[in-house]
Symmetry: C2
Subunit: 454 residues, 2 copies
Amino acid sequence: MIKINEVKKYDGETVEIRGFVKQVRDLKKMQFLVIRDITESVQVTVFKNEENKALNEKIAALTLESSVKVKGKVHVDDFVKLNGVELLAEEVTVANLANNNMPIDLTDFNESNRDLRMDWRFLDLRSREHQLIFRVQTTAEMAMREFWIENGFTEIHSPKLMGNPSESGAELFELNYFGGKAYLAQSPQFYKQMGIAAGFERVFEIGPVFRANKSFTSRHDTEFTSVDCEIAWIDSYEDIMKFEERWIEYLVKRVKEKHGDEIKEVLGREITVPKVPFPRVTMEEAKEIIKSLNYTVPPETKGDLDPTAEKLLGKYFKEKYDSDFVFVTEFPTSIRPFYHMYKEGDPTKTLSFDLLWNGLEVTTGAQREHRFPVIVKQGIEKGLIPANAIDANGEVVRENLPQGLKDYLSCFDYGCPPHGGYGFGLTRMLMNLLGYTNVREVTFIYRGVDRLRP
Amino acid sequence: MIKINEVKKYDGETVEIRGFVKQVRDLKKMQFLVIRDITESVQVTVFKNEENKALNEKIAALTLESSVKVKGKVHVDDFVKLNGVELLAEEVTVANLANNNMPIDLTDFNESNRDLRMDWRFLDLRSREHQLIFRVQTTAEMAMREFWIENGFTEIHSPKLMGNPSESGAELFELNYFGGKAYLAQSPQFYKQMGIAAGFERVFEIGPVFRANKSFTSRHDTEFTSVDCEIAWIDSYEDIMKFEERWIEYLVKRVKEKHGDEIKEVLGREITVPKVPFPRVTMEEAKEIIKSLNYTVPPETKGDLDPTAEKLLGKYFKEKYDSDFVFVTEFPTSIRPFYHMYKEGDPTKTLSFDLLWNGLEVTTGAQREHRFPVIVKQGIEKGLIPANAIDANGEVVRENLPQGLKDYLSCFDYGCPPHGGYGFGLTRMLMNLLGYTNVREVTFIYRGVDRLRP
């Protein structure tokens, strides 16, 4: 039993392959099949004659997408269009005959038929193009973990069921929990910081998160795979950016090594390993650049960048510094969560960053506030903690901390070291790397407002 | 900045370490600290004198579990009890001063205080014993993935939100989904098979699953990390067992290499790499053995083994074959799901297995039924599919398939190849490997009927 991409090595020998029937051509004197497994496709050739009668009949009855085993002699021949090799079949075993009534066209990946394709996702995924996405994902995730573990990280699996709403309370899924209420985690943020408070020093997690977001855009989903890490004993959020850029460099390098040729062949896309360091630009500088490009960020963003500004910025750094990546730093406090550390001497800015990749945000990161009275104060300023949680001397009044944040805040009451980290969207990485623009295409089984199946 | 387990290499040199304060002894002429990071502990020594006055005061004010940086000269000396090395402190920087009012005793891991320890899990995890569990988990998971990827597997992230109840409908968490209903996945079973139907050939997933189980035992939780894989083109479920035993051999080997000495030192436990193949025994044979040991499985198990029988069987195979593992095969159809393949010629038996490790079940595996009419028939027999879904000629009447199973069953209508797989409990693996008996101890943040926090 060999993989189809190995067939060519066995010229003249009898081998056995397995796969799906992708083409059947039944001619007067010959029959041709195309069989595909996870690696490649190969032509199977059968002469029509008395000796082959049973085999000829079996092939005539084959339907597309049936799974078969084929035993045959390898014949390397440049005249064969498909990779210059064919298998002269001696035996075909039908493992599972497919329904002849195919509900979707397996070669048509248009947007117009996307919803139908998602209904029949297991058939939609049978193409080489689509399988490649998930083989690349496998390599990329493994590379992330290799780099983390090489650098002393511990893997965690944080709970997805929570007794209290996490960060904002908005876009939360709520469920009945033995008569009480539970919530689905929107991010592992609090728990990865708990890992730091537990002395794990460096933690990572790749796992699902849930957002009850009513958007129907090409970028939104209600469940996705979040890639997160957190690092203790940093001196500055610069340490986080330094780590992340090397981590990205490593994962893109591994993807290129393992799939670069195939990505070029199948998707016509060149994978470029990024140069580190990535350029950094403060939000203030970024806005100057955007202004100089004659664009004004609309006021609704409240100090954030909008997608157009992100795209312009991405283009600017590509043209000027030949970089697909740029860190935008020092986001305004007003649009960052209370647990980001504020800039010393300028509490309107946070020690945080977004990473843009081809002008699309892929990461949010920051140094976290680890000083107990300071994080409580920031929570009060954001209206998440009652004002009486700090007394006149600036001391935390522990019994006045809100129930929902008590466990989280207590982490900082017992010597939690300085730390920071970032979150990374797995699908955004794939979209950037492979040139897809809709999250549905790069998610194994997509979940959205109106999609809970298959 | 070095790790504490490297300190000894730097005799006579000045180094900087970081960690938590685990002990403070303030004597007349000397001060001693014990500082611990993720790797080790080290003694820090300071002489009390005029020159050190500021430092002496700082140390006198230190609380346990504060996080500090210490700069000092390494002094290797066999007289120092703790690893024969001390750091003569020159500088101590307090990164975060801990509340002096410690809510739990960080060295007392008794069952009696478990609930309180779980309330303060981030403190409970600061011990070397507990951190070791998760460093072992990290290595074990990485080894699993290495072995899978080496063998051509693709990683998937299957959805945890489902539009229809999965397998049984029992123990399901239900949530409000934009006015409709959704359910939390109890296992990735259907989706990993969808990966096979999608032509991925070999898939794996490590991710959370959810069970609304009201049990309060030492083995039960409402959320845990499930380890799953599925393999296409198998000839028999024997192929699955053959794969799994080599996979376990590999992961135990990696754990022993990386942590064997520390596990022995900290937990007093010898890690033994298992010999493959593991013994196999059919359920019928297993029951004969149990009978010969003068035990009768109570009828409530309906043909399954109860924990006592599993323990006896584990002991028997340990004594007779020196194996910690045994596969019990051919489980009765009556206690297996409808998608397990039945034994040819004996439909009362399934081509399935459980793996016992030290007499505790860690895996359920099986060859799956991939033949469309057969799986529908089995579903009808189990009462999950209406009888009119098969007509008088034995053909599937597709429009009569139940809505909730239609997407799953359709996978077998389009050439899904023969396949099988297994599921593996991550916590059960850790309990067996490290000798813990309560799932709460080996879960990062435990979730149970009455525990949704922290």
